[in-house]
Amino acid sequence: MTVHWTRKDLLGLRELSAEEITLVLETADAFKQVGTREVKKVPALQGKTLINLFIEPSTRTRTSFELAAKRLSADIVNITAAASSLTKGETLKDTAKVLEANHADLIVLRHSSAGAAQFLSTRVRASVINAGDGAHEHPTQGLLDLYTIREKKGAVAGLHVAIIGDILFSRVARSNIFALLKMGARVTLVGPSTLVPREFEQLGAKISHQLDEVLPSADVVNLLRIQHERQRKEYFPGLGEYIRFFGLTKSRAKLLKPDCLIMHPGPINRGVEIDSDLADGPQSVIFDQVTNGLAIRMAVLYLCGGIVTR
C-alpha cells in the first residue's frame, strides 16, 4: 500500500479513509514493538514541542499522550484547565495563539465542546490532535479500539461489534462507529432508547434495546461508561434498572461466544455496565487497550508531526 499521510491534524475518524486508518494501525505496529525493548525511546520527534492542552479533566488519555510524546523524544508541556488562562477569561483562540508564539509543533486538545479541535486547527499552524471534543469524536480511542480488535481477531471486516451504553453523549461511540463501518464491520448500538436515539441508524449502525438478542452474535462487545456526572436523571430511572436491562452481568455473559472480546474505554464502573469479574476475566482486553493506546498515540504524533518516511 502506498498511502501517504498528508494531514496536519487528526480531528476525527469520519474524515479518514480506510487506507489512512490502516496506515495508522500499521505505523502503530512498529511503535508497539518499540515498547517491548529495553530502551523504549526513539528520536522521531526530537526537537519538537508538544503541548497537552486538557481543558476538560482526563488522566488516562493525558498520561497516554504524555508517555507517547516522551517515547518519541518530544519536549512536552501539560496544561490543564485549572492552570490555564481560560479560567481568567482568555479565549481558546488566544490560548492557542500564545502556544503557537511559543513555537508549539503539536497541540493535543481535550475540550468539552464539540468542534473545539476543528476550531483550533484552522487557527494555528501547529498540528492539532483531538483528544476528545465534547460528544463529537475521540479519534485515538477509536483507533486503539480498532487496533485491539485487529490484533486479537486478525481483521476487522465482517465482525459484528456491539457498542453498549450511553451512545448519545459518547465521543468514543461516534469515533468507533465511523471507523468500524469504514473497515467493514457491522455495528449494533445497544442501550436505553433515551441514550440511543434513532438518528444513529442514519450513520449506518443498527440499533437494539434488547441486549440478550445482540450478545450471541457479537464478536466484540464494547461497553461504555455510564456517565452519571453528565446525565440528568431523566434519561433512565436509575442504575438498578439500567443494570437489569443493559448491564453485562455474569449470567448474561453466558450468551457470548467464547471468543467474544470484552472492551471498555474506561474508567470502569464495576458492577454497573460490567460485572467486576468479567472486567478481569479471560475475554477482557481492557488493559490491552491501554497498552495499544500508547502505540496508537505514538503513531498519530509521528504521522502528524510531519516526518513521514513511508
Binding site: 479565549t91 475540550h111 471534543d133 460528544a135 461516534r174
Partner: protein, 426 residues
C-alpha cells in the same frame, strides 16, 4: 419639498394597486398627481423606470443593541444597515442593557433614534421585568412611552399563567405580544437542530418540538384572551401546521419567517462555523419546505430578519459557547426576492411586498405600509432583477456575522425614502 417618482411600477397591496405610474410626494406625504400643476417651486425627479415603487419596508424584528452593547451595533449603525437594506421602519428588541422594561429606557431609545437613525426606529418593550419571566414589566407605562409591542425576545416566558396575564393585560392597550417560542425544558442546552447533524457532530440538540410546544401554548392563550400573539422566527414544520389550523379558526395568532430558515438547512453546521448558529436553529429540508408552504398559503404572513449583530471576537469561539444569531438587515430583501420570488416562486412581487409592509403594519397598528394618498412618504425603490454579490466589507452594520458573504443574489433595494427624503441610495 416636492418629489416626483417617475415611471415606476407602483405596488401598493392595501389598495390592490400594481401599475406603471408616477408618484408625487408633497411635504413628506403621498399626494394626488394633479396637485403637481399647483406647484410652482423646484420639483425633484427620481427616475424609477424598471424599478418597483413599494411602500417603505418594515422589519419588526431587529436587535440594535443599544443601550449597552454598542460594540456589536448602535442605533445609528443599525439604522444605516436597515436603510441600506430598504427598510424605512424597524422594531428593536428590548434585550438591551438595561433591558427596555422601563419608560426611561424607551425614552432614551426614542431620543437616540430621533437624533441619529434617519428611519423610524420603533421600540418594543419587555413583557417581564428584566426579561426574567417572573413578574410583569410596567406594560401600561411602556405603552404610554411609545412601545409598539411587547416581547421577551431571546427569552420565553415559561410560566403559562404569567404569559396569559401579560396577553390579557396588553389587550387593554392594544399592544401585540411578540413571542420567541422556546420551551426551556425541551430545549435544554441545545445549540443545533436535533436530528442527523446534531447526532453526527455530537452537538446538544434543539428539537422542533421545543418551538411547537410554545406555539401551541400561544394559540391557546390567543383564543383564551382574544388578543394578538405573534410568534417570532418560526422554524419548525409542526409550528406551521399548528398556526395554519388556528388561523383557519380566525384566532389572533400570526407567525414570521427569517431568511436564514429558508435559505439554509442544518447541514450547514458541519464545520462548526458559528455564523450558522442561530436561535431557533437551522432545521431540515422538510422544515424549509413547510415554511415555504406556509408563506405560500398565507399561514406565515410577515417576513423579518432577526438582525442579531455580534462582534467577531464573540463569535470566534467554540460552537456551543458562541452567541446565537446573525446580522440580516442588508441581505434580507435580496434573499427573500431571490428565494421566494425568483427561485421557488412561492409568492409574486405584490404578495412579497405585502409580507414586508401592510401585514406588519396591521399587526402593530401603524399608519405606514401603504402608498395611499396622505400616507407618510416612506418608500422603497426595488430593482427585482439586479444581480449582486453580498460583500460584508460594504455593510453599514457594525458587525459582520453572516453566512451569506459572497452569495450571488437577484434583486435588492436601490433607494430608501423616509418622509419624502432619500436616506440611502445605491
Amino acid at each position: 419639498m416636492t418629489t416626483l417618482i417617475r415611471n415606476g411600477r407602483i405596488i401598493d397591496p392595501v389598495n390592490g394597486r400594481d401599475e406603471i405610474a408616477d408618484l408625487l410626494i408633497v411635504d413628506g406625504r403621498i399626494a394626488p398627481l394633479d396637485q403637481r400643476s399647483t406647484i410652482n417651486h423646484q420639483l425633484d425627479e427620481i427616475d424609477a423606470a424598471n424599478l418597483i415603487v413599494s411602500p417603505g419596508l418594515i422589519d419588526i424584528h431587529v436587535h440594535l443593541r443599544e443601550p449597552g452593547f454598542g460594540w456589536k451595533e448602535t442605533i445609528g449603525s443599525g439604522a444605516r444597515a436597515a436603510a441600506a437594506g430598504g427598510f424605512t421602519t424597524v422594531v428593536c428588541m428590548p434585550n438591551t442593557s438595561p433591558v427596555a422594561d422601563s419608560p426611561s429606557t424607551i425614552a432614551w431609545i426614542k431620543d437616540r433614534a430621533a437624533e441619529v437613525a434617519g428611519i423610524h426606529v420603533l421600540p418594543a418593550g419587555a413583557i417581564s421585568k428584566n426579561l426574567a419571566g417572573e413578574e410583569l414589566a410596567p406594560i401600561g407605562s411602556l405603552a404610554q412611552a411609545g412601545v409598539v409591542a411587547i416581547t421577551d425576545d431571546g427569552h420565553c416566558i415559561q410560566n403559562n399563567e404569567l404569559m396569559r396575564r401579560a396577553v390579557e393585560y396588553a389587550r387593554m392597550f392594544d399592544l401585540p405580544v411578540l413571542d420567541h417560542c422556546q420551551d426551556y425544558n425541551l430545549v435544554g442546552n441545545g445549540v443545533a437542530h436535533e436530528g442527523y447533524w446534531s447526532t453526527l457532530l455530537g452537538l446538544p440538540g434543539w428539537p422542533g418540538a421545543g418551538e411547537e410546544a410554545i406555539v401551541a401554548r400561544n394559540i391557546l392563550l390567543a383564543e383564551l384572551c382574544d388578543h394578538r400573539i405573534h410568534c417570532q422566527h418560526i422554524s419548525a414544520a409542526g409550528s406551521v401546521r399548528l398556526l395554519r389550523e388556528a388561523r383557519a379558526r380566525g384566532l389572533k395568532i400570526s407567525g414570521e419567517v427569517c431568511p436564514h430558515h429558508i435559505a439554509l438547512t442544518d447541514a450547514a453546521i458541519e464545520n462548526f462555523d458559528t455564523d450558522y448558529k442561530m436561535n431557533p436553529p437551522l432545521r431540515t429540508q422538510r422544515d424549509v419546505d413547510a415554511l415555504l408552504e406556509g408563506i405560500a398559503d398565507g399561514t406565515l404572513d410577515i417576513l423579518a430578519s432577526d438582525h442579531a449583530p455580534h462582534a467577531k471576537f464573540e463569535k470566534e469561539v467554540e460552537f456551543d459557547a458562541a452567541p446565537f444569531g446573525i446580522v440580516g438587515l442588508e441581505t434580507e430583501l435580496g434573499l427573500f426576492l431571490d428565494l421566494l420570488v425568483h427561485r421557488h416562486k412561492t409568492v409574486d412581487l405584490p404578495r412579497l411586498i405585502a409580507l414586508f409592509t401592510v401585514n406588519p403594519a396591521r399587526l402593530l397598528g401603524l399608519e405606514s405600509g401603504t402608498l395611499s394618498l396622505g400616507a407618510p412618504a416612506d418608500i422603497t425603490l426595488i430593482d427585482p432583477a439586479l444581480e449582486w454579490t453580498v460583500d460584508v466589507g460594504t455593510f453599514a452594520s457594525a458587525s459582520r456575522n453572516t453566512p451569506f458573504d459572497s452569495w450571488r443574489l437577484k434583486g435588492r433595494a436601490v433607494r430608501t425614502i423616509v418622509g419624502g427624503k432619500t436616506v440611502w441610495a445605491l
